[in-house]
C-alpha cells in the first residue's frame, strides 16, 4: 500500500553505547571517540548533579524551598545533552534541567530562587546561553525555534566556522509532546529547516499520566511527518545521549536542519516534592529502572574496564560533599526580595500610573511597619 504510512512500526532498538552492566557497545551510526578521562569527567558531572538534586529535596523538606522538581534518574540524558553543547549554542530548559544548567556553568544557587520564591528565575539567559526555566508546558519550544530563526538571520549556520555556527537545543517532556505549541514548533522547524534540536526526555510519566495517554506510538516517530528525523536514545546512557545529541547539533550547525531526540528514561522520584506517586504507579516499576541506573553503569565501566584509580571516586565524593555544603549554605543566604521590588522590571520604562501605585504602596508599607 505504497501511499500508506503505517502507524504501527516495529519498535526499533534505542541507540545505546554503554550497557546497564557497564559494557561499551558499538553503534553503526554513532561512533563516539572519547577518552577515559572524558568518561570519568562525565561520571563526575552525573554524581555532582545528583547531589545537587538530593540537597534541594532536603532543603524543600526543611522548608527552605517551596518546591523542587527532581531530576533523579534523568542525569545521563541531561549531562549527555548538555555536554554536547558548544559555548555559542543556546539551550531552552523546562523546570527540571538542573543537569543541563550544570553543563552551562550555571551556579546551582541561581536555580533555587524560583523554587524558594525569592524571584521568578531572574538570571540572564545570555550569560550562559541557558534560558529561564519555563513552567508553561511546551511554551519554550517555540522560543527555541524563534531563537533559531534569529541564528539563521545572523548568518550563524553553515558557515563552517566552528566557533560561529550555532545550534539551539530545546528540552521538553513526554507529556509536553501533546501541546499545540510543541507541535507548532515542529511545523516551524520543519518548514524552515531551522538549526534547532528537540530533546524530549520521555521519563514515562506526566505527573500521574503514563506516556500511553499521550501517544500509542513511540514519540521519536512524531517528527518524520513534520519533515525531520527522529531518533530514540537510551536516556540512561550518558555516552549515547552525548553522541546522538552531538550529531544532531552538528547537523543543525551545518544547516542540515532539525532533529528530534527521544531520550528514553524514567522519573525515579515524584513529579515534584508535592506529588504522591503511590496513588498512580507501582514501586516495582522504579525497582526495575534502578537496574538501569545512569551512574552505576559508568562507575562499573570505569572500575572494570578502565581500571581507574579508586581515589578518583573518593575525590568526586569529596567534591560532592563540598558542593552540597555550598548549596545548603547558599540557599539559606539567598536574599529575600524587598517589597518595593514588586514594581521593578514590569516594564523597561515604568508608566506613571504604576509609579503612583508603587509610591502609595511604599508609603503604606512604611506606615504599617512604623
Amino acid at each position: 500500500m505504497s501511499e500508506h504510512v503505517h502507524a504501527v512500526h516495529p519498535e526499533p532498538d534505542m541507540v545505546q553505547l554503554l550497557t546497564p552492566e557497564g559494557q561499551r557497545v558499538e553503534h553503526p551510526d554513532y561512533k563516539l571517540d572519547i577518552s577515559e578521562d572524558e568518561i570519568a569527567s562525565l561520571y563526575r558531572d552525573l554524581v555532582l548533579v545528583r547531589r545537587i538534586d538530593t540537597e534541594a529535596i532536603a532543603l524543600q523538606r526543611q522548608g527552605e524551598l517551596g518546591l523542587w522538581a527532581s531530576l533523579l534518574g534523568q542525569e545521563a540524558a541531561q549531562i549527555g545533552a548538555g555536554r554536547a553543547l558548544k559555548k555559542q549554542d543556546m539551550s531552552f530548559p523546562t523546570y527540571r534541567e538542573h543537569g543541563v544548567a550544570w553543563c552551562r556553568d550555571v551556579d546551582p544557587l541561581v536555580l533555587l530562587g524560583l523554587y524558594r520564591g525569592t524571584n521568578l528565575g531572574g538570571w540572564d539567559p545570555k550569560s550562559n546561553n541557558f534560558n529561564l526555566y519555563t513552567i508553561v508546558i511546551g511554551a519554550q519550544t517555540l522560543h527555541a525555534t524563534g531563537y533559531a530563526m534569529g541564528v539563521v538571520r545572523d548568518g550563524a549556520v553553515g558557515t563552517g566556522d566552528p566557533d560561529r555556527d550555532t545550534a539551539v537545543l530545546a528540552f521538553f517532556g513526554d507529556g509536553a509532546s501533546s501541546q499545540g505549541d510543541v507541535n507548532e514548533s515542529f511545523v516551524w522547524a520543519g518548514a524552515g529547516n531551522l538549526p534547532v534540536v528537540f530533546f524530549c526526555q520521555n521519563n514515562q510519566w506526566a505527573i500521574s499520566e503514563p506516556v500511553e495517554r499521550q501517544s500509542r506510538v513511540p514519540l521519536y516517530q512524531r517528527s518524520a511527518g513534520f519533515g525531520f528525523p527522529g531518533v530514540r536514545v537510551d536516556g540512561n546512557d550518558v555516552l549515547a545521549c552525548l553522541a546522538v545529541t552531538r550529531k544532531a547539533l552538528d547537523d543543525a550547525r551545518s544547516a542540515q536542519g532539525p532533529t528530534f531526540i527521544e531520550a528514553y528514561t524514567y522519573r525515579m522520584n515524584p513529579h515534584t516534592t508535592n506529588d504522591d506517586p503511590r496513588r498512580y504507579r507501582l514501586g516495582s516499576e522504579a525497582e526495575t529502572w534502578k537496574l538501569k541506573d545512569p551512574i552505576e553503569r559508568v562507575r562499573a565501566y570505569l572500575t572494570r574496564e578502565a581500571k581507574i584509580d579508586p581515589s578518583f571516586f573518593a575525590d568526586v565524593d569529596a567534591e560532592a560533599k563540598q558542593l552540597a555544603e555550598h548549596v545548603r549554605k547558599g540557599c539559606r543566604e539567598l536574599p529575600d526580595p524587598t517589597p518595593e521590588s514588586l514594581f521593578d522590571n514590569v516594564h523597561v520604562t515604568m508608566p506613571d500610573e504604576l509609579r503612583t501605585q508603587r509610591d502609595e504602596f511604599t508609603d503604606f508599607v512604611n506606615e504599617v511597619s512604623a
Binding site: G66, L67, Y95, G113, L114, Y115, R116, G117, T118, N119, L120, I135, V136, I137, G175, A176, S178, Q179, G180, D181, A206, I207, S208, E209, R213, Q214, N274, D275, D276, R279, Y280, D336, P337, P339, S341, L342, F343, V346, E353, L354, Q357, F361, F364, V365, E367, V368
Partner: protein, 328 residues
Amino acid sequence: MTASGMGTATMAKALNDGLRKSMEDDPKVVIMGEDVGKLGGVFRITDGLQKDFGEDRVIDTPLAESGIIGTAVGLAIRGYRPVCEIQFDGFVFPGFDQIVSQVAKFHNRSAGLVKMPITIRIPFGGGIGAVEHHSESPETYFAHTAGLKVVSCSNPSDAYWMIQQAVADDDPVIFCEPKRLYHAAKAEIDEAPTPLYKARVVRPGQHVTVVGYGPTVSTVLSAAQTAAEDGLELEVIDLRSVSPLDMPTVVESVKRTGRLIVVHEAPHSFGVGAEIAARVTEAAFYSLEAPVLRVTGYDTPYPPSRLEHEWLPNLDRVLDTVDKIMEF
C-alpha cells in the same frame, strides 16, 4: 455519604461530593482534565471519582488545554455535559481561544439550537507559596466575554451547592475555586442552596459596604471583625457570581452605607472592581458619600511567593482603605 449528609466538610471534600452528586444525577456528566483520574487531580478534588464512575466518565486527557476545551465542545454537541478541570489558573490560557470563540459563542451562533452546558473548573488565586503561573486570577477575562458566566465559591457549603448548580446550568460556567481554601477549616453544609447568581450579605453593617468573592471574602470578614472593635460596622457581601453581577443586592447595601470597597486578587486595572464601581456609581450616584475604592492585586505580574502577602489584598490593606473611605 455526601457532604450535606455529613454536616461539615472542607471545601475540597465539598467540591468532591458535589461533583459526585452531579455525576449520579446526570449520566451525561463527564469529568475531563489532566491527572483527574487515579491521582484525583493535583488538589484531589476528583478523588475516587474515576474508581467509582469509570474511565469513560472521568477522563485523564492528553496534556493540552485547548484540546481539553475543544473536545468538551464536541462532547457537548453530542449531548454530553463536560466538566473540565484546568490544573492551575495560569494554564487556562492555552485553552483561551476555544473558550472565548467557541464555548462562549456556540449557543448564539447556532441561533439557540445547540447548548454548551460546559463547566470549566479553575483553581485560582494566590497565597499558597507556589511558583509562577500557579496563583493567577483570570476571572476578569471571562467576565468580559459575552456568553460566559463566572462564579466563585468562598466556603464549603457554597462549593458543594454551586458546583452542582454550575454543572446543571445549560450555559457554560467558569467556576473559580479559591485554591488556598481547599483544605482550610471544615464548615457546615447548608441543607438547601442559594440561587447560583445571587450575592449574599454575609455580615450586616451600616458604615461601609465591602464586596469580595472567592478567596477575599474571608479576608474581608476578618477586617470587619477588627473594624467592629473600633466601632466601624462593615457590611460584607460575598458576590458569589462575578458575571452576571447581582447589582440589586450591592446597590441596596450601598444606598444604606453610602460607601463601597471592592476587594479582589486580580490586578487593579480593568478588573472586576472597576465594573462594580462604574455600575454602583451610576445606580447610586446621589447616595455615595465617597468614590468606590478598590483593594486588589497590583498592576504587576504575580510576584515570587516570598512577596505574595504584600501583593495580595490583606487585612491591613483593607483596613487602611476603610480609613481612607471614611475620610471622605
